[in-house]
Amino acid sequence: MALLQIDNLTVEFETANGWFRAVDGVSISVDKGEVLAIVGESGSGKSVAMLAVMGLLPWTAKITADRMLFEGRDIQNIDPAERRKLIGKDIAMIFQEPIASLNPCFTVGFQIEEVLRIHLGLGKKERRARAIELFKLVGLPNPDERLSHFPHQMSGGQCQRVMIAIAIACNPKLLIADEPTTALDVTIQKQILDLLISLQAKTGMGLIMITHDMGVVAETADRVVVQYKGRKMEEADVLSLFENPKSNYTKALLAALPENATGDRLTTVSAFFDGTPEPAEAR
């Protein structure tokens, strides 16, 4: 049984020009201990699909799916109170902007202990000990001192480490990382990716990496889903995706990488791909 299984997910938003379909019939499944990358450009619906899983979309969004199962349990029509117990504990998420996703008014120690208090009901001393342990795990220096720091006193990379510590605080079964390294420098990006992958290997959780960076995909993923304009264009394991891409869109994306440049101009996506999404029937 897959850890997370989504069949035929569609998300629509109402706009002045009628319903806009942000995600169009996407099916995704992740197994335990697997790293799945969802690649796509901005507007491809990759984040929206995952926000739908987390139940974080505004009520104006219309979400329909044939099935949305987490460990065989329906999470589409789940009771809000039940969902709150699940989210943040068994399914956790890391967002793109580390500094913006922490609350600037509270110390990072308070923010991580809040998770431990609500989901695990730990006592004050236990919480502190666990928080220090988590900070050590994500590689923050002087963890006990750090607990009383505010987000603005830390760098972007350190804030992202705090976010990861909060996300893994309750040993989640599934971690969704939404562009976790886009706002960071390359050297810090490497450290954060290494940290995520080593945590994933250690705990055996499922990991979904949402990204637009083919380099990040190549460095982390087991399996890849390529999305374009809300549709799934291709799904393949990472090696066959890079070696032998099936859909024209993936071919175009790979050709647009500067390192694959031939001659003195880059191949643009339009050279391969006319913009009409073709569904990924050919697996």
């Binding site: 901005s42 420098d185 090696l239 647009a256 500067p258 339009s270």
Partner: protein
């Protein structure tokens, strides 16, 4: 020392420095931040110099000094054979016309209440005595050149996508026919497919107008593609400086090597290697 200036040198920078003073408080002494600690380089006409480094290494401060937004604390700046007097009030409008800048974030660098036509016409209105009709013609012409259309003249920035906005920012920078264009991370906010289009546009414009680029980036794959020369900055110092092939094939400084190692590689061999490593790790 002016003998090193050849006719072909577009830009020469000698031992340029920039300090920022942090004001002290009642119990806090004054502090000086050395953002750029003595950087020198020279760049030939029509070539591209890429400046690489992590955030806070002083690369954007250097860009601001090259475009006269910030005054250097010390050091000399030669552009197109002339020594630049960077003191406030001593800059002529011809000097300002020679150097233009494109900023990183196309969402932040365009005024949301200004129509595209006005964005493009403003540099002409300030720096030249062109009539409104002339300005309009020039702006429309430039829109076509950067791959947009005359119909975009009366639109507002919010009606454009990120890639289109970056084209507008590039068009604005080119309105005064500059010789040197400073590009501060021009593609890092863009999607991969759009990034390729903008990089191609920059290459086309360089060929057409003989532009010299100072290209600031943290993405080594982009740098490798676009640069003739590469400078790596680390904590305000240039730790590595040479032609692209020198720097990429034989990095001298420890930091450059760290940078290369940290860059994600998207070739099939390294994926294969990683998967093999993972298999042996899980088997053990």
């Amino acid at each position: 020392m002016t003998d090193t200036l050849t006719k072909n040198t577009m830009l020469e920078v000698r031992n340029i420095k920039r300090d920022y003073e942090l004001p002290g408080g009642l119990f806090k002494p004054k502090k000086t931040i050395h953002a750029v600690k003595g950087v020198s380089f020279s760049l030939e006409r029509g070539k591209t110099l890429a400046i690489v480094g992590e955030s806070g290494c002083g690369k954007s401060t250097l860009a601001r000094m090259l475009t006269f937004i910030d005054e250097p604390t010390s050091g000399e700046l030669y552009i197109d054979g002339d020594k630049i007097d960077t003191r406030p009030g001593h800059l002529t409008s011809e000097m300002r016309q020679k150097v233009q800048i494109v900023f990183q974030n196309p969402y932040g660098s365009l005024n949301p209440r200004q129509k595209i036509g006005d964005v493009l016409g403003e540099p002409l209105a300030i720096n030249t005595g062109m009539s409104a009709a002339e300005r309009r013609d020039r702006a429309t012409e430039m829109l076509v050149k950067v791959g947009l259309g005359p119909e975009h003249y009366n639109r507002y920035p919010h009606m454009f996508s990120g890639g289109q906005r970056q084209r507008i920012a590039i068009a604005r920078a080119l309105m005064l026919n500059p010789k040197l264009l400073v590009l501060d991370e021009p593609v890092s906010a863009l999607d991969l497919s759009v990034q390729a289009q903008v990089l191609n546009l920059l290459a086309d414009l360089q060929d057409e107008f003989g532009l010299t680029y100072v290209f600031i980036s943290h993405d080594l794959s982009v740098v490798r593609y676009i640069a003739d020369e590469v400078m790596v900055m680390y904590f305000g110092e240039a730790v590595e400086y040479g032609t692209r092939d020198e720097v990429f094939s034989d990095p001298k400084h420890e930091y450059t090597r760290t940078l290369f190692k940290a860059t994600p590689r998207a070739d099939v061999e390294s994926i294969r290697e990683r998967i093999a490593k993972k298999k042996t790790a899980s088997a053990a």
